[in-house]
Amino acid sequence: MIGPNGAGKSTLLSLVARLLPLQSGSVTVDGLKIGEVANDILAKNLAILSQSNVIAPRLTIEQLISFGRYPHSQGRLRDDCRAMIEQAIARFELGHLRHRMLDTLSGGQRQRALVAMTYAQDTDYLLLDEPLNNLDISASRSLMQLVRQMVDQNGKTAVVVLHDINYACAYADQIVVLTDGRLIAQGSPQTVITEALLAQAFDTDAQVGTHNGRPVVFA
């Protein structure tokens, strides 16, 4: 999901995940009516990482990932939970960091740990609000590759709010463009990302080329 600042991307994600109450209308995810569904059912089906994660720093990575099982275990970890936690740690290559406290990690490592937590949460849907904020290119690429793997290998649906359109072009199947709270374009990167759209949505005359069959925006 892309769009200029203030387009309503974060608000939309928050509404879908019920972090904000609906004032009118309704949200349905895969048949689940978000306005009515019970908390634990929602948490088993849909995970969200919002931008404002004020995480208590007194957590180790392993403890953080364990919290991902909370919707399934209510805090009493069973064997299948432990297996899932181990799988998340291995998958996100956090084994050597598992006993480190979150506040001693780099931004990239912390973000990876948070996504690993949602992996352990084992939901079909994953909403990520600007996960690449403050990450360098190597951390950004590795995070997007991990998200892509969760989609390809585990059949999850990931909705990711991104500011850098090139990451969206490189990793997304579908791009959704919002401006002023309205959806103005939706489709594959090739059909959506055009110079005309950039002019319309972002009011900029940036040029668009292609690389490996996907569009690339030149800043």
């Binding site: 948490a43 919002s50 995480i55 007194r58 957590l59 403890q63 919290f67 949460q121």
Partner: protein, 315 residues
């Protein structure tokens, strides 16, 4: 050191404090000393656990390490409620009630008042730390000035009824209400224990808790009610000790790092017992009442508070 080692160490220091409190400097026959000191020890331990638990809970639902129920004016509210009762019903009238009934009624009144005031505050202003500190100071001043206003108009004979609760005291603990404070504390602690896993999740912050299927609002209200009950217990026994909870919570966090309340709550309880029972033993038996414990605790706790606030501001 692992958390397990630290817990065992804390259990040992708490036990040692209790044994020292019971056995040091005995000059009268044991048959008199043991029940006499036993009651005081039980009361001190109840206070210790009530203060540590209410502080840890309050800090969890407000997402901070600086504010405590006492700093936010809970104790002052308790004394205001007692004073109002004396003012409106008369000290003599209150004396006709059994002290236990007075305690139960005041506890419940405090829980409800705390729920109303602080519940509204939390919902309105969220958890903005600076605003909470300011509100706490204003509440404290307001409750205390209302209290002294009422106290000035009370018959001097009746004033003695509330004078007892208005000042912090560890030497003359009123054990009369022990048998009702004990079950109240136990019930509150059991209720807290049932919530401990949910508290762990709430402590992760609103957005993360919501993602994991926990909403903080109802839990915050439940916790505020329990905090009210526990503050009543501690204030009824020893009066207001503003910085005790902060001192204990900070010590606990220095000693061990854990996101789990099943570790934090017992650890804080043991730290609290060590500080209160151990401190009282040292002052009462070793230094023979040189300085009241409440003063010592408030001085050290006050310094900790200043350090935390200054560190928090510079962040």
């Amino acid at each position: 050191m692992s958390n397990r080692t630290i817990m065992i160490g804390l259990a040992f220091t708490a036990l040692a404090s209790a044994v020292a409190f019971m056995t040091l400097g005995v000059k009268a026959p044991w048959s008199f000393v043991l029940p006499f000191r036993g009651e005081k020890l039980a009361a001190l331990m109840l206070v210790a656990v009530a203060v540590s638990t209410s502080t840890v809970l309050f800090q969890t639902i407000t997402f901070n390490r600086i504010l405590t129920p006492a700093i936010m004016g809970f104790d002052a509210l308790y004394i205001l409620l007692m004073t109002s009762a004396v003012f409106f019903f008369g000290g003599q009238g209150l004396l006709h009630f059994p002290p236990m009934a007075v305690f139960v009624i005041t506890s419940i009144a405090l829980s409800l008042a705390g729920l109303g005031l602080f519940g509204t505050l939390l919902r309105r202003s969220g958890v903005d730390l600076l605003r909470m500190v300011l509100t706490g100071i204003i509440f404290g001043v307001l409750f205390r000035s209302l209290t002294s206003f009422l106290q000035r108009m009370i018959d001097p004979n009746e004033f003695s009824v509330i004078q007892v609760v208005s000042y912090a005291r560890f030497n003359s603990i009123d054990t009369e209400i022990l048998w009702v404070a004990l079950p109240v504390t136990l019930v509150a602690l059991m209720a807290v224990w049932r919530l401990h896993r949910r508290l762990d999740v709430i402590a992760l912050g609103d957005a993360m808790a919501a993602n994991l299927g926990e909403t903080s609002q109802r839990l915050q209200l439940q916790v505020l009610f329990l905090v009210g009950l526990l503050v009543s217990v501690s204030t009824a026994f020893v009066g207001p000790v503003v910085f005790l909870g902060l001192l204990i919570a900070s010590l606990t966090h220095v000693l061990l790092r854990s996101p789990y309340h099943r570790v934090l709550l017992p650890a804080a309880g043991l730290v609290s017992i060590t500080v209160l029972v151990g401190g009282q033993t040292i002052l009462e038996r070793v230094l023979s009442y040189g300085t009241p414990l409440a003063v010592v605790i408030d001085v050290i706790g006050g310094v900790v508070f200043l350090v935390l606030v200054i560190r928090g501001m510079s962040k």
